[in-house]
Amino acid sequence: MELVSLDNMEIEKEAGEAERRYSEILTLSRVSAALSGLWDLDAILNVALANVLDIMNGAIGGILLLDEKTNTLYYRVHRGLSTRYVQEMRIRQGEGIAGSVIQSGEAILLEDISQDPRATHPDLVSAEGLKAFMSVPLRARDKVLGVLNIASRMPHRFTTNDMHLLYAIGDQLGVAIEQAKLKERLKTDRKEIAKLEEEKSSFLSFLGMAAHDLKAPLTAIQSYLWVILGGFSGPISDKQKNMLERCSIRITELLKLISDLLDIPRIEAGQVLQEITEVSISKIIEKCCDDLSSVAKEKGITVSTEIPKSLSKVYGSVTRLQQVMTNLVSNAIAYNVPDGEIKVRVIESEHDVKVEVLDTGIGIPARDLPRIFEEFFRASNVASKGTGLGLAITRRIINAHGGRIWVESPCLETGKGSKFTFSLPTGI
């Protein structure tokens, strides 16, 4: 008989446990339903707290979050506590009850907080008449984000089962808080990006203005010089003509320097991307060789091209690629020997098109090769000429196209001069 009654007790106990588990699950799903669809952090915390107090028949509670900057806990939402007590409250890690919960990640259940020496704010406890007290961590993965406190004005109010339930709610809430925080950060990041975009576009328009305002006066001066040199304003002496021609040359140099200097930030700011269309590499090369043929001829230099009949599609900025070709070919002319040769060759491989510019010129000293694409760098074997920016701009343009540029000197194939090669990706 005794054995049977024991069994009955066991069964009753298990039934009670099952019922408790069942109601626990119901409660958890109720909290989770209340939180679902909420993205605003304060809304989540308020809804969670209201639900917890309702479930626990409690009247007083609050959620403290960890401020990552100061590493202290503060009340983000609360119920039944006077704002004057909680609004200035900052609790350090390890300090008092909430402070030890956040540090250990373990919950604390107190029968009567007014009798507990760990209470950090005994004035608050006595003023509000707090007795029974529970504090659980709000965890997300391995981090503790805050603490959920609930209190009652009656002692011995909460059970270990209540604490287990609150623990589970704390975990649920922790995940919801983390999601809301990520969402908040995403929002600030987006704002940050929008701000950067705006700064970039105002920088570009500043550059446009600077370019216009710096070039306009020089353009006017140059125009008058050419009017005078062309004899449109009456005859001038040979001496005057010589000096005015020098003026004109210096102004051309200055205009070139201004456009080169302004080109660098423009390319860096991604202006090339705005000009991308399908381009014909062969047309660009032919135009460049055509434009520079008279200059080459003057020095007795022959320019030849070797371009396959059909090439894959290449996307790029026509203006910028023309600039690249002009820079490379005019360098090949400027640093060539009289009666030298220049060959422009296009080779298509699986993923890219390579353009090679070979010359029979003076070449680049080995020690200068690593720095040849740097701004204002000039090889030690050339006289000061040009802005020292041509190759730096060329490299930036090619990089902005997703391509690469490199140089060998002497050119391995011919044993002379140098060979510049750039690659551009084909297709999209």
């Binding site: 370019a211 216009h212 070039k215 306009a216 353009t219 006017a220 140059q222 125009s223 008058y224 050419w226 009017v227 062309g230 449109f232 304003s233 205009l255 705005q274 000009e275 014909s280 047309k283 026509v318 203006t319 023309q322």
Partner: protein
Amino acid sequence: MINVINRAKILVVDDDPDIVQALTMILESLDYRVVGARNGLEALDRIESEKPDLMILDLLMPKMDGFAVYQILQNRHRSGFWNMPTIILTSVREEASRRRFEMETGRKLDADEYMEKPFLPADLLAKVGNLIARKRSPISWDSPGDKGGAHGKET
């Protein structure tokens, strides 16, 4: 004075008075009649009152820029000026100007000629001479297909 009838009239539009004067001196050397305008609004007035044979148009100007002037003339097919030969004067590179216009308006900038500032007097006179000759030849003009041909889409 009989000649006056045959002397082509050229409207020069630029916000920089020095550029207008330089252009004027060069053009007058070949006996063209030159009218100046300092911005887009003035340009439209001069077109109505002076009925020029050719326009040299700067792009970046205050009040109304060259893009806007060009667009207005293109839209006014009945105004009689839509086929006036136009040389676009620009300090920006030609391709970049054209692309900017296309992006802003969704239309092609089919000007007859582009000239980058500063310009060589000989180049200017050659371009002006060609366009005036084309305008006066009744066969090649007034055919819209011919107008955009030189700057049509790359094939």
